[in-house]
C-alpha cells in the first residue's frame, strides 16, 4: 500500500495535521519541522491523495471537459491549450467524448458530474439545452462553439458571420462577383457562416449563391459537381466560400478534375485555418478562428466562476481573421476558357 500522511507523520515524529500543513505549504510551520516532514515524505515516496484531499476539503481541482470529437483538429488544439492552462493553474482535466450523440453525451456529462468537478467545459456539445442547465446547477459551465440563453453559463464562440463576411470581402475585393457558399448543413456554426455570407453578399449588392453541402472533403467535391452541372462555364461562380477547410479541399479537387485551375479560374476560401490549410502543398486561403484565445478565454471564464469572482454570464464572440494564401487570386475574365 502506498504511504499515507499518517506514515509520514510517524516517520517525521509529528502529527498528521502538521504534515497536512506542510503539504499545503502553510506559512505557520517552523523550518525545522518542515524540513523533517519533507524529508520523511521524500524517503517514503509519499504523494498526497488528490481524491482524499478533495473529499476532505470540499473543493475540487478537477475540470471536466467534454469534447464533441477529438479527431477534429480544432477541438484537439483547444484541449491542448486547456491542458496547458489547467496545469499552470493546478487543475486536472478529466476528459470525455459524446460521440456526437445526445444520449452518449448525456452519459458522458453525468460521468464528469459524478466527480464533483470544480467546473465543466463543453466543446460544441449536442446535448439539449436542458441538459446544460442541469449541469450548470451543479458547477460552473462554459460552452465553446455553442450558444445558450442560460444566464448561468458562459460561452465562447467565434463570430461566424464576421468570418464569412471576411471571405466575401476578400473575394469581392479581388474583383469576383459570382460567389457561391458551400454550406455546412447541420454542422456546428454552419448556419452562422451561411447567414454571414448572405448578408455580406447583399451588402455588396450581389446575389448570394448557396449550395447545400457538408463539412467534409467529399461534401465539397459533390457540391462543386452540382455547381458545374447547374452553370455554364461562363456563368460558373469564380469565387467559392467553403464551410470549412476540408470542404474547400474537396472543392478544389473537383474543380481541378474538371480542368479548372485554382486560383486561375476559381478562387477558393476555406474556414478554420486547420493545419491542413497551412500545408504548402495546399496553401489554402482561409478564415482563422483564434483557437488559442478561445481556449484561454474559456478557461479564464471558468476559473472566474470557480473562484466566485463573477456571477454575470459572459459571452465571448471572437473575431476571426483572414489568412491569405495561394488559392485566391484577382478575378480575370481572360483566365476563363
Amino acid at each position: 500500500m502506498r504511504p499515507t500522511m499518517e506514515d509520514v507523520a510517524a516517520r517525521a515524529g509529528v502529527s498528521r495535521a502538521l504534515v497536512s500543513l506542510v503539504m499545503n505549504n502553510s506559512p505557520k510551520v517552523s523550518e525545522a519541522r518542515r524540513a523533517a516532514v519533507l524529508r520523511a515524505a521524500e524517503e517514503l515516496g509519499y504523494q498526497p491523495h488528490v481524491m482524499a484531499r478533495s473529499l476532505a476539503s470540499r473543493t475540487s481541482t478537477v475540470l471536466g471537459v467534454m469534447v464533441n470529437d477529438l479527431r477534429n483538429a480544432f477541438f484537439a488544439d483547444i484541449v491542448e491549450e486547456l491542458d496547458t492552462a489547467a496545469q499552470a493553474a493546478g487543475f486536472d482535466l478529466i476528459l470525455n467524448t459524446g460521440g456526437r450523440s445526445p444520449t452518449r453525451e448525456w452519459n458522458a456529462l453525468h460521468n464528469l458530474l459524478s466527480f464533483r468537478p470544480a467546473g465543466i467545459i463543453l466543446l460544441s456539445p449536442v446535448v439539449p439545452a436542458s441538459a446544460i442547465q442541469v449541469a450548470a446547477r451543479q458547477c460552473p459551465v462554459v460552452l465553446v462553439s455553442r450558444t445558450t440563453r442560460a444566464s448561468t453559463v458562459d460561452t465562447v464562440n467565434d463570430d461566424g458571420e464576421a468570418g464569412s463576411a471576411l471571405a466575401v470581402d476578400h473575394l469581392v475585393g479581388l474583383g469576383h462577383r459570382r460567389i457561391a457558399h458551400l454550406d455546412g448543413g447541420g454542422a456546428a456554426g454552419a448556419a452562422q457562416r451561411r447567414r454571414g455570407f448572405e448578408a455580406a453578399m447583399r451588402r455588396h449588392g450581389l446575389e448570394p449563391i448557396v449550395v447545400r453541402s457538408e463539412h467534409t472533403d467529399i461534401g465539397g467535391e459533390k457540391a462543386v459537381r452540382e455547381l458545374l452541372a447547374a452553370y455554364s462555364r461562363a456563368e460558373l461562380p469564380t469565387g467559392l466560400v467553403s464551410g470549412n477547410d476540408f470542404n474547400a479541399v474537396g472543392a478544389i479537387s473537383a474543380l481541378e478534375e474538371a480542368g479548372l485551375r485554382v486560383p486561375g479560374d476559381v478562387s477558393v476560401v476555406g474556414y478554420d485555418n486547420t493545419s491542413l490549410a497551412a500545408l504548402r502543398h495546399l496553401s489554402l486561403t482561409t478564415i482563422d478562428q483564434p483557437r488559442k484565445d478561445m481556449a484561454r478565454l474559456a478557461f479564464e471564464a471558468l476559473i472566474e466562476r470557480v473562484r466566485g469572482e463573477r456571477t454575470e454570464p459572459v459571452r465571448h464572440l471572437l473575431h476571426p481573421s483572414l489568412v491569405v494564401r495561394a488559392t485566391t487570386a484577382p478575378f480575370s475574365a481572360t483566365g476563363r476558357s
Copy 2:
C-alpha cells in the same frame, strides 16, 4: 450542497448502507426497498460521489492518460478510441500532456499518479525509463509507441521496420530501383522505419539512399530539394519512402514545383495513413498503423493488469499495412524527361 447518500436514505426511510447496496445494484435488496431508494434518489437528483466511493472502496475507476501531443492526429485518434473503450468498461479518463518535454511530462505523470488511478497509459512519452519504472510501481502502466525493458510494463507498438519494408516492396514491385528514404530524424519510431527501409532495400539487392529529414511538410520539401541538387534528373530516385505523411506531402510539393509529376516521374509513399492521406485531393499511398487496434490492445492490456489477471508483460507489435492510393505508379523510363 448536492444531496448525499444520507439524504437519500432519510427520504427513502432506510439506512445509508442500504442505499449503497442499491447504488451498486447488489442482488440482496428486496424489490420494494430498491424501488423506494431509486425513487428517492431520482427525486433528489442524487448521484454517487465517485471520489468518495473510490476512497472508501480502495479502488479506482480512473485511468490516467498522458499524451505526447494531442495536436498529432495519430494520438488524438488513439485517445478517442481509449475513451470509447473506457466508457464501455466504466472507467474515466484523466488526461494530460507533457509538451514533449521530459520535465513537464514528469510533472504530468505525477499529477496522474496523485489520483491513485487504476492504471496509466503513456502515449509516446519522452520521460526517462526510470520515471516509467517509478510509475509502474504504483499502478499498471502501458506504453504506446515506446519500448521498454521493464518487465512490469506492457507495450503496444507498430512494427516500423515491417512498415518501411512494405513501402519498399511495393515500390520495387512497381519496378522502381532507385529509392530514397526521407528519414524522420529523432522523431518517435523514425529509427525503426529507417532500419526497415535499409534492410528491405538490401534484401532486394538495392542500395538504400537515406536523406536526413523531419516529420513535417517543410522537412519533406527541403529533403527533396537536396535530392534534386545532388542527383541529375536521370539518376534521381524514382521512388520516395517518407518518414510520415506530412513529410510526404511536403516532398510532393517540392517535386511538383520542380516540374516533376507524381506519380508519373516519382512515386511517393507516406507513413501513418492520417486523415490527410485519405483526402481525395492528395490520395497518398501510405502505410497504415492500426490505431484502433493499438488503442484497444493497450486498453485491454491495462485492464487485464488492473484486474490482476496477468502479471507477465505483454509486447504487442502490430503489423502495419499498405494503403495504395494515387501517388505510386509503375516505373516507366519513358515517363522521364
